[in-house]
């Protein structure tokens, strides 16, 4: 059974996370401060850590750094501040993703699922990443959309590859730029235009992207299930913030 460590000083938040995770078959370990969290992360073999940034004894980002120094267990950060620089910093420190409070359990479950799958892929070496109608074979570099092979330029593939290896998780602009253009200096306009080109090839409607969604000020995310904005009253998508 998947074991999740929740480090949060708010008892009510821990309570609903426990209920939500247990409902979906996870086992929960709770810690109410950084010391307890670090202890549990070392002692118990946890599969996933949900880490609140506002801890009474130590800054959450410090806890993140400490755990990252010896473990690559997936970590999802809970943050109440919507400061984009801070999000980018946390991702650089090694967080797999973040969720901004207030959030619905489905959003956190989707992130957790993505982070756990990524971890799993690195161990069982499954080369094919699926995202809605899209399948990307990371070994043969073949990309299919609804079962049909599509042609991508080298840069477009590099972009898709960068997103696919983190499918369901956010990838920062800088991370993508580095992956696509390597050490060469490049600016964000190139990335924006490249994303536009790739969307024209893989999205049903490039002006209403469902697969490659932007996280303002942070980066892009390749959605596992085609969803996102719901124009035309198409209803609430499965992995959105909803009750």
């Amino acid at each position: 059974m998947t074991k999740v460590l929740v480090i949060d000083d708010e008892a009510q938040i821990r309570r609903f996370l426990r209920a939500g995770f247990e409902l979906h078959g996870f086992t929960i370990i709770e810690a109410e401060d950084a010391a307890g969290g670090l202890r549990a992360a070392t002692m118990d073999a946890v599969d996933l850590i949900i880490l609140d940034l506002n801890l009474p004894d130590l800054d959450g980002s410090e806890v993140l750094e400490r755990i990252r120094s010896w473990s690559n267990v997936p970590i999802i950060v809970l943050s109440i501040q919507s400061d984009e620089h801070e999000k980018v910093r946390l991702l650089r420190l090694g967080a797999d993703d973040y969720v901004v409070k207030p959030f619905g359990i489905s959003e956190l479950l989707a992130r957790s699922d993505a982070a756990l799958r990524r971890q799993l892929r690195s161990t069982n070496r499954d080369p094919v990443v699926k995202a809605g109608p899209l399948a990307i074979d990371l070994v043969s570099r073949a990309v299919t959309l609804n079962g049909k092979r599509i042609q991508l330029t080298r840069k477009e593939y590099a972009l898709l590859h960068g997103l696919a290896t983190h499918v369901g998780l956010v990838v920062t602009h800088q991370q993508l730029i580095k992956e696509i253009w390597g050490g060469h200096a490049s600016n964000i306009q190139y990335l924006r235009i490249l994303v536009r080109k790739l969307r024209q090839k893989i999205e049903r409607d490039a002006t209403q992207p469902q697969l490659i969604v932007s996280e303002s000020g942070v980066g892009y995310r390749l959605n596992q299930n085609e969803s996102g904005a719901a124009p035309g009253g198409r209803g609430v998508p499965s992995n959105s913030y909803s009750a």
Binding site: W181, R196, S216
Partner: protein
């Protein structure tokens, strides 16, 4: 001008206060008398020269014009001398003029005798008028000088009070007071603390220990007069004056007079004493204590506001996060999912808590804007992402409406803060959902128009009257019709327009009239991207 200032000006005019110029020019003894002689000689020589000039002019005038202008012409040197050098020079000019007139123009000529009794009366009358005029002119000059000096002092006082207004703590205040005293007195002035603890803060402006000890003694004795104390090691004289009421624990002022001793020192000490008295009146008048209290209040307000922002974020939003999170779990529990009534209740809790969270966020945004303004983080952004982001943000709010999208395909990138613009567009969506009936269409479009990227949100709702349109940008706008229909602080649109303005854009509202729907639009300028031909970087 305040009555106090008026009183002070009057006092300056009637009493003979020591002038700054005297105080600021300490002169060496040997050169002093020479200088004074030179200073007095110049006006006298110049006065005689003017009388001489007047005489020559009169000779010339008399040659051409037969009128008797003697008294009138000799009045000129009197006025000039009296206004320039004071009453003494004026009197000299008057007598010199009378003698010259008698000698050159009244018969018998070239003699000091007077032939006609009428001439004697004329000359005496001239002398009387000249003396009165020189007195008046000299007073006029003194008044002008005093006014100039007062104006300068008021300027300094103004600068000082401005300085006080920016003081945030007692340390700043003490420095401001010291600076003011030093500038006014033209000697270094240092405030001396009664409590030893405060001394450490001012090590740079340290007063010799002997002087300090003497000052503390004087404070303890409650001395009301200034004392001159000699620093035996450095041979420098200090004037120590106890101040009452003391300023924030500082009970005395020490003024460094320098190496002078004896008579000169006593004279300067007297001037310094009178100026300290004035300065104390000023300090009391400026309500230094109140100023520091106000500064402290301002400082605390700032801290309180920051604490409020932090506190509200945490203390209010954390419970709301628990409520919203718990709702999201409740809805997934089979016992709720199977019960329509329970599900509707959970939905209601969720909606209301979500609404509350929005309002708190608006309040926080408004507080932050008022406190610090908006600092946009500009980056190249795809307008498509702004529309998607805003839609995702307001997904729940829009779920009861029929949302249609019309996004232009080749819209240029914009150089904006995507987070702020997304939030502003989200606010327009929020308003559209709030003020239009469920099931009605909300149409979102984005296009490029006249060098601007324009996002617009059109609803089928309440619309706007001409009056309401005019009030839209205000901090908490909600028309009376809007208040009746729905809740909310009304801050949203103000925040949106502030965010857009910070990105160099503007917000517009159009409505054919009440109940005919509204189109709100955001305009953002398109700046040419500084980008080399992208072929190399992209087409590969």
């Amino acid at each position: 001008m305040s009555t106090l200032q008026e009183r002070r000006i009057l006092r300056d005019l009637t009493a003979k206060l020591p002038s700054h110029d005297d105080a600021e020019a300490p002169v060496r003894h040997s050169a002093r008398w020479l200088n004074i002689a030179a200073l007095n000689a110049i006006p006298i020589v110049a006065t005689f020269a003017m009388v001489w000039l007047a005489t020559i002019s009169l000779v010339v005038i008399n040659y051409f014009v037969p009128f008797n202008l003697v008294a009138l012409i000799y009045m000129l040197p009197v006025v000039v001398a009296a206004t320039t050098w004071g009453i003494g020079a004026g009197v000299v000019a008057a007598f010199a003029g009378a003698v010259a007139a008698d000698f050159f123009f009244y018969p018998p000529l070239y003699s000091l005798w007077l032939q006609n009794p009428q001439d004697i009366v004329d000359l005496l009358l001239y002398l009387l008028v000249a003396l009165v005029t020189s007195n008046l002119a000299a007073r006029l000059k003194n008044e002008a000088v005093a006014l100039q000096r007062r104006e300068k002092e008021i300027g300094e006082l103004h600068a000082f009070s401005q300085g006080l207004a920016t003081c945030l703590n007692s340390r700043d205040l003490i420095f401001a007071v010291q600076d003011y005293l030093s500038n006014t007195l033209r000697y270094r002035a240092v405030l001396i603390a009664t409590a030893p603890a405060d001394r450490a803060a001012f090590e740079n402006t340290a007063v010799p220990e002997e002087i300090r000890r003497e000052a503390v003694k004087l404070i303890a004795a409650g001395a009301r007069r200034a004392s001159t104390v000699l620093d035996p090691r450095r041979h420098r004289a200090w004037l120590v004056r106890v101040i009452a009421p003391e300023i924030l624990g500082y009970g005395a002022i020490a003024v460094e007079l320098g190496e002078e001793a004896g008579e000169r020192s006593a004279a300067v000490a007297q001037r310094v004493e009178s100026l300290i008295e004035e300065a104390m009146v000023t300090l009391n008048h400026l309500k230094v204590k109140e100023a520091i209290e106000q500064a402290t209040i301002n400082y605390r307000t700032e801290i309180l506001r920051d604490a409020l922002i932090g506190g509200v974020s945490h203390e209010l939003r954390t419970p709301l996060a628990s409520i919203l999170g718990s709702c999201s779990v409740l809805n997934r529990l089979p016992v709720v999912a199977d019960d329509h009534q329970a599900q509707a209740l959970v939905e209601a809790i969720n909606d209301q808590a979500g609404q509350l969270d929005n309002e708190i966020r608006d309040l926080l945004d408004a507080t932050r804007i008022s406190a610090k303004g908006v600092q946009p983080q500009l980056t190249w952004t795809d307008p498509t992402d702004i529309v998607s982001g805003a839609l995702k943000q307001k997904e729940r709010r829009l779920s009861a409406h029929w949302v249609t999208l019309d996004v232009a395909r080749d819209i240029p990138l914009v150089h904006v803060d995507p987070v702020l613009v997304e939030q502003a567009l989200g606010q327009l969506l929020e308003n559209a959902a709030k003020y239009s009936p469920s099931g009605s269409e909300i149409r979102i479009s984005s296009r490029c128009e006249n060098g601007h990227v324009v996002f617009s949100v059109r609803d089928q709702g309440n619309g706007l009257t001409a009056d309401e349109k005019g009030q839209l940008g205000r901090q908490s706008f909600r028309g009376s019709r809007q208040v009746a229909g729905s809740g909310g602080s009304g801050l949203g649109l103000w925040i949106a327009s502030t965010f857009i303005a910070a990105n160099g854009g503007s917000l517009h509202a159009e409505s054919p009239g009440p109940n005919l729907g509204t189109t709100m639009s955001l305009q953002l300028p398109v700046t040419a991207a500084e980008m080399p031909e992208p072929a190399d970087a992209l087409n590969d």
